[in-house]
């Protein structure tokens, strides 16, 4: 029982990170039709920026303060890098979807290679407040505290994004743009400003996932972190339905849980530790066979 509780909370923590990545991906795709391959690189850059500041701070203040400062810096860098990418590289290629995808592919390779060249290919120790590494007892399971932070942060981000989309003027423009961009443009609203905003939000959420992944994976970050998480975020986005935030949230929880359960029980009873990863891909295949447009999908694909 205690193992099951631990697995559930850990799976939710993993799902929380998937959601943070997938929400940005889904918004960007929904509004602009751009599959942002560089999203994993935003995550990596955000995580490394945060790590870099934490090494510079030395013994300033308490460990919680240092962590919060460096996390905030990572988020800022993630958002700024994403906004710059949109302004400099994506915007000039407006309406050229193929080229936009290709540019983000090139960017994902170049940015990760740059991080690797600058800070080395091996993992770096990510300093987190000692409280996060301790455990709390829940139904007899000793759960690492950071899991609660990840779940809480993702829940806050989910509520924040939904509220932003529903109750602000920009949110209204973004929602309308996802529905029918041509109509919004015809009404005299410059949707392109919303593009930069969506990229910045996505970059911020990705960097947040990067920082949290540093804590989740035992206090370490590595250059490939973004790419490997991005693939599962893609799966989440497809299962949830492209362009749907709520769909992404539900799918992220499902994927995180299935992956944790199957990875654990697979290696425990079958000596097969990638069962979880394979199960997730299988889940994707089944979703496509049964419901090709995803859980919340509204676009239909006939073939």
């Amino acid at each position: 029982m205690s193992t099951f509780v631990l697995l559930t909370i850990t799976g939710l923590g993993l799902g929380a990170m998937y959601f943070l990545i997938a929400s940005g991906l889904s918004l960007i795709y929904g509004l602009m039709g751009v599959l942002n391959f560089a999203h994993g690189a935003f995550l990596t850059v955000g995580a490394y920026s945060s790590w870099w500041l934490s090494t510079q701070l030395g013994g300033v203040g308490s460990d919680v303060l240092r962590f919060l400062l460096s996390a905030a810096f990572g988020l800022l860098v993630g958002a700024v890098v994403a906004a710059l990418v949109e302004l400099v590289l994506i915007r000039p290629l407006y309406q050229r979807h193929i080229e936009q995808v290709l540019v983000t592919v090139g960017l994902s390779l170049a940015m990760v290679a740059w991080v690797q060249a600058t800070w080395g290919p091996t993992e770096r120790v990510y300093e987190a407040p000692s409280w996060l590494a301790r455990t709390t007892e829940v139904f007899g399971a000793r759960v690492p505290n950071d899991r609660f932070v990840e779940i809480g942060v993702a829940a806050v981000v989910l509520v924040g994004i939904v509220a932003f989309l529903r109750y602000t003027r920009y949110g209204l423009i973004i929602r309308a743009g996802v529905e029918n961009r041509a109509m919004v443009t015809a009404l005299g609203i410059d949707v392109r400003r919303a593009f930069t905003l969506v990229f910045a939000i996505g970059g911020l959420a990705a960097a947040l996932a990067g920082v949290l992944s540093g804590v989740y994976f035992g206090g370490s970050i590595d250059p490939d972190r973004g790419t490997s998480l991005l693939i599962f975020a893609f799966i989440v986005v497809v299962i949830g339905g492209l362009g749907s935030i709520m769909g992404s949230a539900v799918a992220a929880v499902l994927v995180g849980l299935v992956q944790q359960y199957a990875n654990y029980y697979g290696s425990e009873y079958l000596d097969f530790s990638v069962l979880g990863d394979l199960s997730v891909v299988l889940m994707l295949a089944i979703t496509l066979l049964v419901r090709p447009s995803g859980l919340a999908g509204k676009w239909s694909v006939a073939h």
């Binding site: 979807h97 170049a110 530790s273 990863d277 394979l278 676009w299």
Partner: protein
């Protein structure tokens, strides 16, 4: 008609001349002046040349999917890796003879893409890209997991049971000829299928899938067909690669490797035959040589901020690629193509947007495209 026949004869002649020239390369000991690390027919140079030929051909198989049919797959590495790993596993772990391993690989090379293609082709456009990526990732995880000690995990596994003519540094030229043979095979096969009647349907699907459906054809079948053919040819490339390198390593299963294939095709020229081959060869050449060049004095003495990224081939290639997408979107072949430098990519516009969130006016047609190119 006469003009067409003449052009065909000219093309065939040029192809034959190019392949003939490549075939005699191992006979000449020419100083390469630092382009390669040693003379033209030294084993080291021949190995790099053979890899360039193999990846030129594999890039062409990817172009068959992406450039000719408009299927943006991010999982082509999986099928290449099937060839690499099955050759290695069958000859060492199972101790099969090479011909048995090849037969078995060929059967798997038809079955796996048939199965996975049937599932992933349920969706189109970007969703297809993500799904193929997921399948490739599953393959990659499986290889790293090292089930039954077959794949060797991070270390990889060697290829065994090779005939004497393929073993040893002195026999590199034989492997080079095998690589060239593979390239010619792929080139002929792709030329043949592209100009066949299914090939014309693929190109019609690329340009407008709905129209193909309205004409009473089932796009799904044709897409599955090209998916299987292209994957099969890629698996054959994996076999040649395994023979050439003498081992199988997890690098060929990574998403970065599929992305590299995409880069190769776009660099050379999407939807072109010679372009894809050139792109694959050039990318491979740079990938192998950039590391050595970055050790040159003028880079070594530059500050860390410049020196470190330049020592990463992927940073240089990724950056070059972005510049190319901006300034020469049709790739190298775009320099000579009629119909604008963006022709290859413009034909693909439809294919990545088969699932608009809702049907908007601009999804139907983009009149601005002509004006901009």
């Amino acid at each position: 008609m006469v003009g067409g026949a003449l052009r065909l004869a000219l093309r065939l002649g040029l192809a034959a001349a190019a392949f003939g020239l490549l075939a005699v390369v191992p006979q000449f000991s020419i100083d390469t002046h630092g382009v390669f690390s040693s003379e033209l027919n030294s084993p080291g140079t021949l190995q790099v040349l053979a890899l360039m030929l193999v990846f030129g051909a594999v890039a062409l198989t990817y172009d068959l999917l992406f450039g000719f049919t408009g299927l943006l797959s991010f999982g082509h590495a999986l099928y290449f890796a099937v060839g690499v790993y099955l050759t290695a596993i069958a000859t060492t772990r199972w101790d099969w003879a090479l011909w048995q391993a090849l037969l078995f690989t060929a059967a798997v090379a038809l079955l796996v893409p048939l199965l996975l293609g049937a599932v992933s082709l349920r969706v189109g456009g970007i969703a297809f890209a993500m799904v193929t990526l997921a399948f490739a990732e599953a393959g990659s995880k499986l290889v790293n997991q090292n089930p039954r000690g077959w794949t060797g995990g991070e270390e990889g596994t060697a290829v065994g049971n090779l005939p004497d003519a393929l073993v040893g540094v002195l026999n590199t030229k034989h492997l080079y000829w095998i690589a060239l043979g593979y390239l010619i095979f792929v080139f002929v096969a792709v030329n043949w299928v592209v100009d066949s009647s299914p090939g014309r349907v693929w190109q019609a699907i690329r340009e407008n899938e709905q129209r193909v459906e309205v004409l009473g054809l089932q796009p799904f079948r044709f897409k599955l067909m090209v998916f299987v053919i292209s994957s099969f040819l890629a698996t054959a490339g994996g076999v040649v690669y395994a023979l050439l390198i003498g081992s199988a390593g997890p690098r060929v299963t990574t998403p970065a490797f599929t992305l590299a294939l995409l880069l190769m095709v776009v660099i050379g020229g999407t939807g072109t035959r010679w372009g894809a081959i050139l792109g694959g060869a050039l990318y491979t050449f740079l990938d192998y040589r950039l590391v050595e060049w970055s050790d040159k004095a003028f880079i070594r003495e530059s500050p860390d901020l410049i020196r470190q990224p330049l020592s990463e081939p992927l940073f240089v290639l990724g950056t070059l690629f972005i510049l190319l997408v901006f300034f020469l979107p049709g790739g190298l072949a775009g320099l000579t193509l009629p119909g604008g430098r963006r022709r290859g990519l413009r034909l693909l516009e439809q294919s990545v947007r088969t699932e608009p969130t809702t049907g908007t006016v601009e999804d139907e047609a983009d009149p601005g495209v002509e004006a901009r190119t």
